[in-house]
């Protein structure tokens, strides 16, 4: 359906200012705010509830289940997560009595995510540069090939990749987890190529005329100029790889290569006979969620603004 009204004279850049106030407009706005407040509550309440339960004691949870504040506040949950509570104490408090290797899992997650992010972004940038700025025969055809790869759902490659990782002897290793995504993703190549294409040629040409090699141009010019999209891509990749569960679950079976998400699942399955250790579980969940929440608070603006279809038209 096309509108046939001729546009009223408007400034060249679409005006983003909210429309002027009118009578009756306030009700609409009030309703909108009410709705959004509900959305905000729904989004944030579970996090608060995690905290509240983590700071409670298991045996008080039933009686005090409608209290909004922690019941019988105790750090027991966190102690069980970090392994600072003795086995017997843990069992008394409703825990499973088995220590958790939290710092190990955290380290594993950091290693895996860093490997994936550093590798993926760097190698994708190199490939993107080759597609955007280097001249070579078949360039566009090969790029078309890459694009077609975007359409293969990753999930379909998981089982065969596991078989491959097993054959490489990398099962239950951090490298095994990182390897399939460490070299590139079609999205990263596409995304960076779009950006490189948009970089003005003059600066490059000037450097080339001065005798710089294209390699030098890449490292000294293009990369620094692309620090914004590269940073954004890196953050997004870090978050995605940090939160991954299915693939790391497949590849790891001991603490050697267990990452936080998988460890959380394991912790849950260690449910003691008396019933789930909710305080401990919520403490573990909170601790698992914290790194990404912190990252989010630091880079909120960048992350929020990166969501959209810019460049993918």
């Amino acid at each position: 359906m096309t509108t046939t009204t001729t546009p009223v004279a408007a400034p060249a850049t679409a005006d983003r200012v909210a429309p002027p106030e009118r009578a009756g407009f306030n009700i609409g706005r009030a309703f909108a705010w009410l709705f959004m407040i509900l959305v905000i509550l729904a989004s944030l309440f579970p996090f608060y509830w995690m905290l509240r339960t983590a700071l409670s004691s298991n045996n008080a949870l039933y009686a005090g289940s409608d209290s909004l504040l922690p019941v019988q506040p105790s750090l027991g949950g966190f102690e069980r997560v970090f392994g600072t509570q003795s086995g017997q104490e843990a069992i008394d408090a409703g825990g499973a009595g088995q220590p958790i290797n939290f710092w190990r899992y955290l380290a594993n997650s950091v290693v895996v995510s860093t490997l994936i992010t550093a590798g993926q972004v760097f190698f994708s940038a190199m490939a993107a540069y080759a597609f955007a700025r280097l001249q070579w025969k078949h360039r566009e055809k090969v790029f078309g090939f890459f694009l077609a790869g975007l359409m293969i759902p990753t999930i379909f490659t998981l089982l065969p990749n596991f078989v491959l990782i097993k054959q490489l002897g990398l099962v239950d290793t951090l490298l095994g987890i990182a390897l399939p995504s460490m070299l590139m993703t079609p999205f990263a190549v596409f995304f960076l190529r779009q950006f490189f294409l948009g970089i003005s040629r003059e600066v490059e040409e000037a450097a080339l005329v001065e005798g710089a090699s294209k390699v030098r141009v890449f490292f000294r010019l293009i990369l620094p100029m692309s620090s914004a999209p590269i940073a954004t891509l890196s953050i997004l990749t870090y978050i995605t790889s940090w939160n991954d569960y299915f693939w790391p679950l497949m590849v790891s079976y001991t603490d050697n290569s267990r990452v936080l998400t998988v460890a959380l699942g394991v912790f849950k399955s260690q449910t003691p006979q008396t019933g789930p250790d909710w305080a401990g579980l919520m403490a573990a969940t909170l601790v698992a969620a914290l790194p990404m929440l912190l990252l989010f608070m630091i880079f909120a603006k960048r992350i929020v603004n990166s969501i959209g279809f810019s460049g993918i038209k």
Binding site: P46, P186, N243, L281, A289
Partner: protein, 295 residues
Amino acid sequence: MAGTTTARRDDTRLAILFILPALLGFLVFLVWPALRGLYLSFTKFNLLTPPEFNGLDNYIRMAQDPVFWNAMRVTIYYVVLNIGFQTVLALVIAVMMQRLTRRTWLRGIVLTPYLVSNVVAAMVFLWILDYQLGIGNKILDAIGVDKIAFLSSDTWVIPTIAFINVWRHVGYTALLIFAGLQTVPETVYEAGRIDGASEVRMFRSITVPLLRPILALVLIITVVGSFQVFDTVAITTRGGPVDSSRVLQYYIYDVAFGRFQFGYASAMSVALLIVLVIITFVQYRLTRAETSDLS
């Protein structure tokens, strides 16, 4: 200052160097596994001994496997609930955000659930919706409604898992749509207002049609993602009660890592892939995603 273009060089050697790692990753971890997955679907493979070719046996078995068809049904049911609810909610949220403030903080809060893993989301709702102790049922109790066995009753389990994933993903989807809303020029709304159209009317007659390409793309992405649900099921119900939440990807995982039947699991993966391709194709056509009413 020289304004000449650089001589037409051939960077082939350099290009090969620059592309090599990515190309390696692409071939070794994307293309080769895809082909291999296809091949494995025609074999019997338990990981310990080499795969033996067994023709269409896996596919025949799949066609007669009630658990497979149940998984297909359960997954489709889940996708319909999940995406239906999520898309409508995301659209409303996006429009409300558009109305109220373009500042980052509101979008940031809405996006927060997306920042944590599916595992975290599953765990917290496992607790909130616990039958005995969870605050969800406490609230139901307080308003005089019967308690609901959210994750342990076969009627409620799929809607609950759908809900958990809506909680996690609606913010992201809303932000995608919000970004799309930015492409609708204010002039169009101004014209509508001058013509005396109400907010609701403008939403229906201006916003939704102009958002069509964005909505179509969002739908395709979210539907494909939704079909692959695994994490939430693995943490909360592991397919139970009985098979009522045994979604496709979970069944595939079960068969592969629980029973070491990689050939059969691969065949089911191929089936899932075909379903995704068909759905994407149909969606693309149905919504004429490539055309835009703005131009």
